[in-house]
Amino acid sequence: MKRTSFRTVVAPAATLVAMSLALTACGAGNESGTSGSAAAKSDVKLSGTLNGAGSSAQEAAQGAWQSGFQSANPDVTVNYDPVGSGGGREQFLAGGVDFAGSDSYMDDEELAKSKDACNGDTAIEVPNYVSPIALVYNLEGVDNLQLSAKTAADIFSGKITKWNDPEITADNPDAKLPGDRIVPVHRSDESGTSANFTDWMSKAGEGAWTAEPDSVWPIKGGEGAQGTSGVIDAVTNGKGTIGYADDSQAGDLSTASIKVGDAWVAPSAEGAAKVLDISKRVDGRAENDMAMDIDRTTTEADAYPLLLASYLIACPTYKDKAKANLVKGYLSYIVSSDGQSAAAKTAGSAPLSSTLAEEAAAAVDKISAASS
């Protein structure tokens, strides 16, 4: 009796599971048919497990890359743990993960440490995730607000408290600004978005932002909200509110244009990618290291310097040949146009410009097995 019931119940269930697995595999394969071509370029058949950790900003994009890469290489498992940029770098340096995602490039101390994790070579950094940060606001009757970095800094530091302050009126000669109180909303949790936003105000704000740029909001005051969704909710529910968030998450909220040179530029993926193009590499890095100091004060037309650039950190050489191939395969898929457009579709990020993508592809291509 028992045996028959086991057979009648479990066997069909197992078949069902197997069938559904096969079906989903088919579905995923069809969806990302184009991505297969990029990853399939590598002549070696890839298999094994790849572990990464880091930036939570990259989480959605990493999900897209995982599914794209795994459906092209069915024997590969990619794991990405969104522990946060600092945690990702720490785990990578301790040799716990094969690659890390980080919203900021490594400092000199970390670079020196990376030699331990990478068989004596310094780790490389490749930009893989670029996202414009929008200034979102909720102010009745005003739908194309213009703010210079200096005005934004004065608003977020609490120096300007009314919407019809002369400084804002000077930025918006045509708008009818009400005398409402300004409620600046910032992230109450630690985040790379805060770090990039404060960095922009600090560099482009003509001295109006006096606090150090930091991923923890450095000023006491203003309204704090948890996560990007929390900021969006607070701005939506309040009156006279203004906050900052990933442009892709702005939803129905109005976004402000920022001053670049003498022009006003609205947040856009192309504008963000353009800034990264003209940003300078950090001095004194290895040849294939693409760490960049984002040019916040650019005056280039249509550039949007308020953006978050996130990096992939990996070793230039890996002890194990299979691991080296795996890292190389996954990273080249990420910086390929297929990978970048997959992330743009899922996470709303800005695809790398063709020049940057080429450089990144060349850097990733040099990843190899240790020759010892």
């Binding site: 600092g86 945690g87 720490e90 109450s188 923890v216 704090g224």
Partner: protein, 311 residues
């Protein structure tokens, strides 16, 4: 051992079931103590390095005390306000259920209150930040305009309603079912003879409750309030979502610049924390642990003394 046991017990035959049950209860008791000790040891060991940490690990504060004091202040303020609201309300609800309402009505009301305890705190958080807070904005504006001379309502009133007062009200709603459930049971335990004696002496119903029910239930009420306080002190998710935290120390209850609480701060900062920052957060957890203990002990001591004086 057996010789010291009273003769009546030693004569009774020790059955296997008895021994197993006694053992099981003992194990349960020990496990709870071990778990508590485990938590305390973990918090102390992991939190210890943070006491000498510098400002980068302490989220910009210059010393550990400077880091944890505003959080502790916010925790105690929010919990105190929550209990200030929850205690009278809960006692009222419990009295209605135990003494005032007809039985037909009392039961459904009791069930409804118990149901409040089953709502997950993240749902309270969503409700508090997205709906309830915004509904309180006009009230906060009124308070600022008319009672602005008081330091509590100095304003400027929050435009989103995500203030420490909103957080305290949400905490109160979360504490009410706990306090109500226990006090209700304690009120029902009041000896009928005491109640009838009071009524027979000409007391009104309210006087009867004051003379017979409350004195009898005093320690039970304190226990209930302490459990409610535990929830208010330790609540994490709802506060993290509702409260607009800025790490200041202020008694201003209606502005958008509020002190954070220890538990909410851990929830907010832990995901991106690394190295010594994690130790700092764990150390703040240790402070919360100690404070909760201290508050509980103090309350027990006060009740014990009052009971003694009463007898």
């Amino acid at each position: 051992m057996a010789s010291s046991v009273a003769p009546t017990r030693s004569r009774a035959k020790q059955r296997a079931g008895d021994r197993i049950f006694a053992g099981a209860t003992r194990v349960a008791g020990v496990i709870i103590l071990v778990a508590l000790a485990g938590v305390a040891v973990f918090l102390t060991v992991e939190g210890f390095p943070a006491f000498g940490a510098d400002s980068t690990a302490l989220f910009g504060a210059s010393s550990f005390v400077g880091f944890v004091w505003p959080l502790l202040f916010g925790t105690l303020l929010a919990a105190f306000l929550a209990l200030l609201i929850a205690t009278p309300l809960s006692l009222g609800v419990a009295l209605v259920i135990s003494h005032y309402a007809p039985r037909k009505l009392a039961r459904p009301v009791g069930y409804a209150v118990d149901l409040l305890a089953a709502v997950p705190s993240v749902v309270y958080g969503l409700w508090g930040s997205a709906y309830f807070g915004t509904k309180l904005v006009p009230i906060y504006e009124w308070l600022e305009a008319h009672l602005g001379f008081l330091p509590f309502f100095k304003g400027p009133a929050s435009a989103t309603g995500r203030t420490i007062l909103t957080a305290a009200i949400v905490l109160a709603i979360m504490a009410i079912p706990i306090i109500t459930a226990i006090t209700r049971e304690v009120f029902l335990q009041t000896p009928k003879l005491h109640e009838e004696a009071a009524l027979a002496l000409g007391a009104t119903r309210w006087e009867m409750i004051r003379m017979a029910v409350f004195p009898y239930a005093r320690s039970g009420i304190v226990s209930a309030v302490m459990l409610g306080l535990g929830r208010a002190l330790g609540e994490t998710m709802a506060v993290a979502m509702v409260l607009s935290a800025s790490g200041v120390i202020t008694f201003n209850l209606i502005s958008s610049t509020n002190p954070s609480t220890i538990a909410a701060n851990i929830a907010l900062q832990f995901p991106e924390a690394t190295g010594l920052k994690v130790n700092a957060l764990i150390a703040s957890g240790l402070v919360l642990f100690v404070i909760t203990f201290a508050v509980n002990f103090a309350a027990r001591a006060i009740v014990a003394r009052a009971e003694k004086a009463h007898q």
